[in-house]
């Protein structure tokens, strides 16, 4: 029975990512991705954790490229590596209590957390073959950036603008909070 479930998982997997599943690079990148993600949550040096987080996010960009989402990959690197990760590193460098100190990443709830994580992983694994994945039959457009840009400005203009306003509100909020503390 378990073998059957696994072969079904494999089939859905193949259906989902198509020809990528036969690409050795996919497995190499996934290996780096999982390994570096584990490093992020286990290392004792928080600066090293941040650097491995960058490697994790970069590997995700690699998987996007294998899935022919080049624009998403570039944006992933630009936003997550170029902005978010650098902000994290800045925060670490400017917090004097954190640098050169060995931190403990676990507490007494580690067993519960592990159980919940593995439970979630198992559920995800089992739900893959029993989900109907909607995959478009049309071939990828040669210039998917144009299509993406047009859709963002026509069909999805409302969500796009709402996201912009939410980000702007967060930005103003952060400035206001920082100001109050300073004065």
């Amino acid at each position: 029975m378990i073998a059957g479930v696994f072969s079904q998982i494999g089939q859905s997997f193949q259906q989902l990512i198509g020809d990528v599943s036969s690409n050795p690079l996919f497995y190499l990148i996934s290996f780096v991705l999982i390994l570096s993600a584990l490093m992020v949550v286990t290392l004792k040096n928080i600066f090293h954790s941040a650097l491995f987080l960058i490697l994790t996010l970069f590997s995700v960009a690699g998987i996007y490229i294998l899935l022919h989402a080049e624009f998403l990959a570039a944006v992933q690197v630009l936003i997550y590596v170029g902005a978010v990760a650098i902000l994290i590193i800045f925060a670490i460098m400017l917090t004097s209590q954190l640098t050169s100190k060995r931190i403990v990443q676990t507490n007494e709830q580690v067993t519960v957390a592990l159980l919940i994580c593995f439970g979630f992983l198992g559920t995800a694994f089992l739900s893959i073959p029993y989900t109907v994945w909607r995959i478009a039959d049309v071939a990828l457009p040669a210039e998917n950036i144009f299509t993406l840009g047009k859709l963002l400005m026509t069909d999805y203009v409302l969500p796009f603008e709402v996201v912009s306003i939410v980000l702007l509100a967060a930005l103003i909020g952060a400035v206001v909070l920082a100001r109050r503390e300073g004065s």
Binding site: P24, N45, F47, H48, L51, I54, E70, F71, A73, A74, V75, V77, L78, V81, G82, A83, A85, I86, I89, F90, M93, T99, E143, I145
Partner: protein
């Protein structure tokens, strides 16, 4: 015009020999990497010599004169000397971070050349996200600076690293926005498409008044800051920080930072030449000559800046980026969009 990139050409050549697919992939990638490295190592060595000559002549000196004609062999001798030096790692550094920082700086500096067209068809691979790829890869330079600063475990290196990261992050925004103005007009992110939309001299984006020159000047100012050159060289202000983020580095690791710095200077000039001055387009001479002429002209301008202007203060630096350069480039982007929409200068 059939070949859209050296990489594609190589790939097809190798496939016709009937080698196994994995081997074809590896050989094509490796030879593209070696080609980029070879060309740029020579260019970087030349630029080091040229910088010394330009600075000397601006200060009414001669610069290196003894080795070879006007000292042209000087940088080769210096490079050999640096490579032969003992590789010193101070005892209190964070070893892995200290080791990987120059490697990342070096790789990031060379990686952007995948999408820079050196001539008609002389591009490694014409990615459809061309310019975005370059902008994304340059963020790794900031990470290498932070790693070098933190990993050195030295207060001067840390301050230098923080300063340059803050500076590069601040100036990256106006730089990307001024590049966006060109992308709006070209209607493509591909570097080859951008070059091909500037086939005649009056089509160069620099001459599309009024948005072109504004975009170029904001770009070149931001690019000077991105490469940490005077008047924006606070990260390596010798009087305050000894040498900045690379103070603990010596020998080959220092050479890697040094080379990456000069390659980055060539990169920003090459992007400037491609986006605003028609890239490899030009009459009579081969396309790669035009590309090199335009790029070296921009490199000369950057050198001219460096040896003419005094250094800014840190508050002036930040104010200039956020309160002047950024609003100007945003207004320019809106202007470019409006010009494109109304068909003004839209050849």
């Amino acid at each position: 015009m059939e070949i859209t990139g050296i990489f594609k050409y190589l790939y097809e050549l190798l496939q016709s020999t009937g080698l196994p697919q994995v081997l074809v992939d590896i050989i094509a990638l490796a030879s593209a990497a070696v080609m980029i490295f070879g060309v740029l190592a020579v260019i970087a060595l030349f630029l080091v010599w040229w910088e010394r000559k330009v600075s000397a002549h601006i200060q009414q000196r001669f610069g290196p004169m003894r080795t070879g004609w006007h000292g042209w062999r000087q940088t080769i001798a210096d490079a050999v000397k640096l490579l032969q030096k003992e590789d010193i790692t101070p005892s209190t550094v964070d070893r892995p971070v200290f080791f990987w920082a120059p490697v990342i700086a070096f790789v990031a500096a060379f990686m952007v050349y995948v999408t820079i067209p050196f001539g008609d068809g002389l591009i490694v691979s014409d990615l459809n996200i061309g310019i975005l790829f370059i902008i994304a890869i340059t963020t790794f330079t900031i990470i290498s600076l932070l790693m070098a600063g933190w990993g050195s475990n030295n207060k001067y290196a840390l301050l230098g690293g923080m300063r340059s990261a803050a500076q590069v992050v601040s100036y990256e925004v106006p730089m990307v926005v001024s590049v966006l103005a060109v992308i709006v007009f070209a209607g493509s992110l591909s570097m080859v498409d951008i070059v091909q939309s500037q086939a005649k001299i009056y089509k160069w984006y620099f001459f599309r008044l009024p948005f072109g020159p504004i975009a170029f000047f904001t770009y070149i100012i931001a690019a000077t800051a991105e490469t940490n050159r005077t008047p924006f060289d606070l990260p390596e202000a010798e009087q305050e920080l000894v040498a900045g983020f690379n103070v603990e580095y010596s020998g080959m690791k220092f050479a890697m930072f040094f080379l990456a710095e000069f390659v980055n200077m060539f990169t920003v000039s090459a992007i400037g030449a491609t986006l605003f001055f028609g890239g490899w387009q030009g009459p009579l001479l081969p396309s790669w000559v035009w590309f090199l002429v335009k790029t070296f002209a921009l490199v000369f301008v950057l050198m001219w800046f460096r040896w003419t202007y005094p250094r800014l203060r840190v508050d002036q630096l930040m104010e200039f980026s956020w309160k002047f350069l950024l609003p100007v480039s945003f207004a320019n982007l809106i202007l470019a969009g409006w010009m494109k929409y109304s068909g003004w200068f839209n050849w």
